[in-house]
């Protein structure tokens, strides 16, 4: 087995919510609370979870857009959490991010040439005609015609803008790309195109993806392994096929049951697991399993006390006792 590309150890990210009059933080929001995760070179790791579970914060911390409170992110022998903005240099180019919102992520006052070429300009890597050649080359790779180099983002559709985002991320030849919900803002018809593009580019450049999404069908489509995140923690981690067929965590099961099934004849065979809207307070995490308040298998006395360890790819006290329902694979075309 090869060396992991990225190793996250006990990562915590907390946001100050309130301070007292001396500037001391009195209330904190635990966005990421103790995440361990490894990324292998060349794989696509899907990271799923409902909104607010900390998956975006985790992604932002990896690329350096967010400071970690504690823990480490090891990449290439270096702990990225220890680096200041100025020191990140090389790692900033090797770990890139594709943003969720194709509208707010492109500066409306800059042409595509400026947007896509900006990483090369700031590093002084390319200038003049070389810069133009590389931008044109990258635009062609992501399926944009280089003749639109001097247009402004407002002239493009959501899908095209996301291609611009991808081009901007890949122009510095990164090794790891954190894609934060790259297709969530897009029409279903465009989604498949962008996913295919990402897959092609992965093969071509030998990329490793951390693919963040709340959409299980999208993740199933692209990921090799899937990590399920709930309330700042990884609750389950498994190979994609295994996770979808046999989820081990009740939360994963609940997520699966929410995936729409296209074939009407198969609907109703598995009941939907409806979760009560009873999220714990992120400023004051409960003891025991954070999911216990919403879990239909929760047992009083066992689930709401102590700490629940992450073992064999799942964080649940009742592992092995439960018969959980995955997604029933439809035969043939998907």
């Amino acid at each position: 087995m090869s060396e992991p590309m990225l190793e996250i150890n006990d990562l915590h990210v907390r946001f100050p919510v309130r301070r007292n009059m001396f500037g001391r933080v009195t209330v904190e929001n635990h966005a990421v609370s103790g995440v361990d995760l490894t990324l292998m070179p060349g794989e696509t790791l899907g990271l799923v979870g409902e909104s607010g579970c900390g998956k975006t914060t985790l992604g932002r911390t990896i690329v350096g857009a967010q400071e970690a409170t504690s823990g480490s992110i090891r990449y290439d022998g270096q702990d990225l959490t220890q680096l200041k903005h100025r020191q990140r240099g090389r790692y900033r180019r090797q770990i890139r991010m594709v943003f969720q919102d194709p509208f707010s992520s492109l500066n409306p006052r800059m042409t595509l040439r400026q947007i896509i070429g900006d990483p090369l300009v700031t590093t002084g890597e390319a200038k003049g005609s070389e810069l133009e050649d590389r931008v044109a080359e990258m635009m062609r790779r992501v399926g944009l015609s280089p003749e639109y180099m001097d247009r402004y983002p407002h002239a493009f559709s959501g899908g095209q803008r996301q291609r611009v985002n991808i081009a901007r991320a890949l122009i510095v030849r990164p090794k790891l790309v954190v894609a934060d919900e790259p297709v969530s803002a897009l029409d279903v018809s465009v989604r498949a195109q962008i996913l295919n593009l990402l897959r092609e580019l992965q093969e071509e450049f030998g990329l490793t993806y951390l693919f963040i999404s709340h959409d299980l069908s999208v993740v199933e489509n692209i990921a090799d392994r899937v990590a399920v995140m709930y309330f700042g923690k990884i609750v389950e981690l498994a190979d994609t096929a295994e996770l979808y067929e046999r989820p081990s965590h009740p939360y994963t099961e609940a997520l699966m049951s929410a995936v729409p099934i296209p074939d009407p004849s198969r609907r109703g065979r598995t009941g939907r697991v409806l979760l009560p809207d009873d999220l714990p307070d992120p400023t004051n995490p409960p003891p025991g399993c954070a999911f216990a308040s919403r879990c239909r298998y929760a047992e009083a006395g066992r689930c709401d006390a102590g700490t629940v360890e992450f073992e064999d790819g799942v964080r649940c006290v009742r592992t092995g006792e439960l018969e959980l329902q995955g997604i029933v694979k439809t035969d043939g075309v998907h």
């Binding site: 932002r60 890139r96 943003f99 002239a155 029409d187 018809s189």
Partner: protein
Amino acid sequence: MTLKEKQDRPDEAPAETGRAETGDGERATASQRQLVWWAFKKHRLALVSAWLLGAMLIVIVLCEFIAPFDDRHRDSEYTTAPPQVLKLWDTDGPEGFQWGLHVDGYTSTQDPRSLRITYEPDPADRVDIGFFVKGEEYKLFGLIPWDRHLLGPEDPDDPMYLLGTTTDGQDLLSQLVYATRVSMSVGIIGVLLAFLLGIVLGAVSGYFGGWVDNVIQRVIELFMAVPAIPLWLGLAAALPPDMGSVTRYFIITTILALVAWTGLAREVRGRFLALRSEEFVTSALLDGSSRGRVMFRHMLPSFSSHIIAALSLSIPTMILAETSLSWLGLGLRPPAISWGVQLQDASKWSVLSGAPWLLIPGLVVVIAVLAFNFVGDGLRDAADPYKH
């Protein structure tokens, strides 16, 4: 491509993607500046005002050439002479009807009791006027010596006072031209100074937040808490009266700027706070830009048109402040001429009743202030071309 088609085909197949809307290619490649200009053009009043301000700028630059006389020119023979009417032809000359640009000269009568001399235009006394006539020597742009004036009497000793003269016998038009240079430049330079301060401090305050923001905001509040007029008066009164007029000019401008920067700093701070969470700012940081580059290269340009609008809206305040200070005798002083200094002449009713034309500088102030406001309004409306 029409809007309908665009909706029907939100994104083309991979083979032909990257095709932006070809129908409005001009709009697609138009820079921010062009879009603002297109929107601005629709605002008639603002456009007219912009032309007017453009003309005033030309007056500022070429004021020695445009003014018929030097700013020190004084004709003690004609004090408080009324404005003359520019005439294109003459019917009562010695040869009957005759073409030619001219004005009527003056005849003076002295009131036997008050000994006051009053001037009347005299149609029999013809003063010929020409373009590019020889007059007093001056240095254009402070460099090129020249003696031609745009408009003036053919014989430099003849009286040509299109807007009348002051109580000292100075040509009101020439004075007004010179005053325009001083008053407008006080406004523009003062606002630029204030903006430099406001943008830098506002940007730092909004971008970094935390205690930096706190300190800067408290300083701004301190400045805002001090009432502006007593502050101006106090600072201006503290200046030694024998100070050279150039130094005085710069000090007055700086005082005005020190009072004016706070409003802008707040506005800029608000914009930076709002923009800080935009993803393009994060992505610029991830692209490796330094914080300064992110602030002034990525964030500031995205509301530069708002800044220009705010700028043109705050110039009038500055001009009015200078005018009031000078009118009160606390700003600029003769021999320096500004609109406020000129209006000092008009502050006595006994003078004004006999010479209402001395109020013309006041009219110019009103026009300039309105023009800046209209341009500012037009720019503000045009500033956000992407909002629809």
